[in-house]
């Protein structure tokens, strides 16, 4: 019992101060010695020697035990302190490593992967990575290995994706080339068969289908990170751009092209704009009832030209609007071909891409008609003044000059040459060929007379124009006249004398036909 008490006392002592503990360990032997002395004094004298011996032995034993306990106590104390120090060290290291891993995931990895995506090689990307200085080399090595492995994987994936995109773009390019060739051929055929309405209509149908395929190919090219379709060398008037966009959607008949600002788009930006507009128009026609119209207008604003596409279809709920915005935004940050399957509104992704690349501002808002109003703002720097206000057709060099023609008032002129040209000369000439010289003379004479009268005043006003106008001005009859005219400036004097009688002789059919046409005119 005493031992137990002492040992337990000794057990608690190391927690306290060291001198105290040594003192504490003196108590048990002292107490034993005191008890032994007491026992020696109390027991009868005969047993005193034995008791004394026993007492001494017991005291010695207790003292030994106390000494041993004290030694172990000290040992434990030192071990504990060492352990505590060690534990603190480990904790510190753990914290450091955790911090390092956190840094790896939050800073190092994104930075290096970004560098990799920008085209750096793996070792280049890893060169600038700094490791924590106070960590052991093993950890750093593992760290580096991990980084290298991740970067290698990313690199491989990137290469794979690049290759896939390139393949996509490559195929899209080939399709585009074929479609363009088809379109050209089709246009030639349309010109060739333009007079046959049935064939022409079928050709237009095919042409339309061809344009739709072309748009699809353009979309793939854009999603593959390339530019859409063909390059335009010259600027194209905005009106034609809008109509070009219309020609690439399925239901172009439903699009109403309203006022369009009189500007042109510079060549390199034409195709992207057409494509973006086509996608927006497609979106508008697709998500609105088939009977409703889609309105397309373009007005000049401070920052460029705002092209509005307004439909009367299903409106944009707040949630849908957020989703479309998200699609546009996602397209802005980068687009994964794997997401293709998940975005049913593929067009928006394409538009988003184009918008980022060519700095179009796009917003989709609820329209006053209940549908969607899409506004695409074309930046100022890709706009230029139109060389030909009113479109390419208006500037075509082949058009007859409008002004000089205007002078000849429309009403009288057709009555005069009309009957002669259309009614008479055909059979007249043929009969001449059959061998009637007089008739042949008569024809030219009636012909030049009105012609000269008509052209004389303009010739006086603007002589240099006269020869230029002659090939332009003539209608069919004048063409015939000039042919007939070839050899006969001489009879002009005779004509005055001869003219009356031949005119009089056929005057009955002539006069009968002249009033006819004039009646029709009015």
């Amino acid at each position: 019992m005493v031992f137990a008490g002492t040992s337990s006392g000794g057990g608690t002592s190391p927690g306290g101060r060291r001198p105290a503990s040594t003192l504490v360990w003196v108590i048990p032997p002292a107490a034993m010695a005191f008890c032994a002395g007491l026992a020696v004094a109390v027991v009868p004298s005969g047993a005193r020697a034995m008791v004394a011996w026993c007492g001494v032995a017991a005291t010695l034993a207790v003292a030994l035990a106390a000494a041993e306990a004290m030694r172990r106590g000290r040992l434990i104390t030192t071990l504990r302190t060492r352990l505590a120090a060690q534990e603190a060290g480990f904790r510190q290291r753990l914290a450091d490593q955790e911090a390092e891993i956190r840094r790896l995931t939050r800073e190092v990895l994104p930075a290096t992967v970004a560098r990799l995506r920008r085209g750096a090689m793996v070792h280049e990307a890893m060169k600038d990575v700094d490791y924590a200085p106070n960590l052991d080399p093993d950890f750093d090595a593992a760290h580096e290995q991990l980084l290298r492995w991740v970067l290698d994987t990313v690199r491989t994936e990137e290469d794979l994706r690049d290759a896939a995109q390139r393949a996509f773009v490559n195929i899209a390019r080939r399709v585009q080339a074929i479609v363009h060739q088809q379109a050209q051929d089709m246009r030639e055929m349309e010109d060739k068969h333009g007079a046959d309405p049935d064939v022409f209509e079928d050709l237009l149908h095919l042409d339309h289908g061809n344009a739709l395929i072309g748009r699809l190919a353009d979309s793939i090219a854009v999603l593959g990170g390339s530019r859409p379709g063909r390059q335009w060398q010259k600027e194209v008037p905005l009106f034609n751009v809008c109509r070009g966009a219309m020609s690439r959607i399925l239901e172009y008949e439903r699009v109403d092209l309203h006022s369009v600002a009189d500007v042109a788009i510079v060549g390199p930006s034409v195709e992207p704009l057409i494509h973006a507009l086509a996608e927006l128009l497609d979106n508008a026609t697709r998500y609105s009832p088939p009977k409703t119209r889609v309105h397309l207008t373009a007005i000049e604003v401070q920052s460029g030209v705002a092209i509005e596409i307004e439909d009367a279809g299903v409106g944009l709920s707040e949630e849908a609007r957020r989703r479309t915005d998200a699609v546009l935004l996602q397209a802005a940050t980068g687009f994964d071909l794997n997401d293709l399957g998940e975005t049913p509104r593929l067009g928006l992704a394409v538009v988003g891409r184009l918008a980022v690349r060519y700095r179009f501002q796009i917003s989709l808002r609820p329209s006053a008609y209940g549908g969607v109003r899409a506004v695409l703002v074309v930046p100022q720097d890709i706009i230029c003044p139109t060389p030909a206000p009113g479109g390419a057709i208006a500037r075509a060099a082949k058009l007859p000059p409008p002004k000089p023609i205007k002078r000849a008032t429309p009403l009288p002129s057709p009555t005069r040459p009309g009957p002669v040209a259309q009614g008479r000369p055909g059979p007249g000439f043929r009969q001449n060929g059959a061998g009637l010289p007089q008739r042949r003379r008569r024809m030219p004479m009636t012909a030049p007379a009105p012609f000269r009268v008509d052209s004389a005043p303009p010739a006086a006003s603007a002589t240099p124009r006269d020869p230029a106008r002659q090939p332009v001005q003539p209608g069919i009859w004048l063409d015939a006249f000039t042919k007939g005219l070839n050899g006969e400036p001489i009879p002009a004097a005779d004509a005055a004398t001869d003219a009356p009688d031949p005119r009089k002789s056929p005057s009955t059919p002539d006069s009968s036909s002249t009033p006819n046409t004039s009646d029709k005119d009015e």
Binding site: D207, E253, G390, K398, Q431, L436, I476, N516
Partner: protein
């Protein structure tokens, strides 16, 4: 990424069916204009019009046949026909029929005249 082939020839980005706005060339009623019908403008071109229509109005101050209009505009006849049908509907142009063949004098009469002349 390389652009395929040589620089494309310039043309318009729009296709013909948008020029004629999708209306089939032959409308249910009889075709009002023939290839040789003469077209005369009755109105001045307005700012909001399609360029083709405006061009037709400008050039038809003086009567032109449909075939000529088609040649000047470099558009197929069918497309021009549709354009003209639209303009006709709005009374911006009028059509003057070519002299119909029925007005031509009878060949027999001509022959008689010829013989008469020869007998002179």
């Amino acid at each position: 990424m390389s652009e395929p082939g040589k620089p494309w020839d310039e043309g318009g980005p729009e296709r013909l069916y948008t020029v004629s706005r999708g209306r089939a060339p032959q409308e249910p009623r009889h075709r009002p204009v023939e290839l040789v019908s003469l077209i005369v403008a009755r109105a001045e071109p307005e700012p909001g019009m399609a360029p083709e229509a405006a061009a037709v109005l400008r050039m038809c101050q003086f009567p032109l046949s449909v075939a000529e209009i088609s040649a000047y505009l470099v558009l197929p006849v069918s497309t021009v026909t549709v354009l003209l049908a639209g303009l006709l509907r709005d009374d911006r142009v009028e059509v003057r029929a070519p002299v119909p063949a029925a007005v031509l004098p009878d060949p027999e009469l001509l022959q008689a005249v010829m013989h008469g002349l020869q007998n002179l």
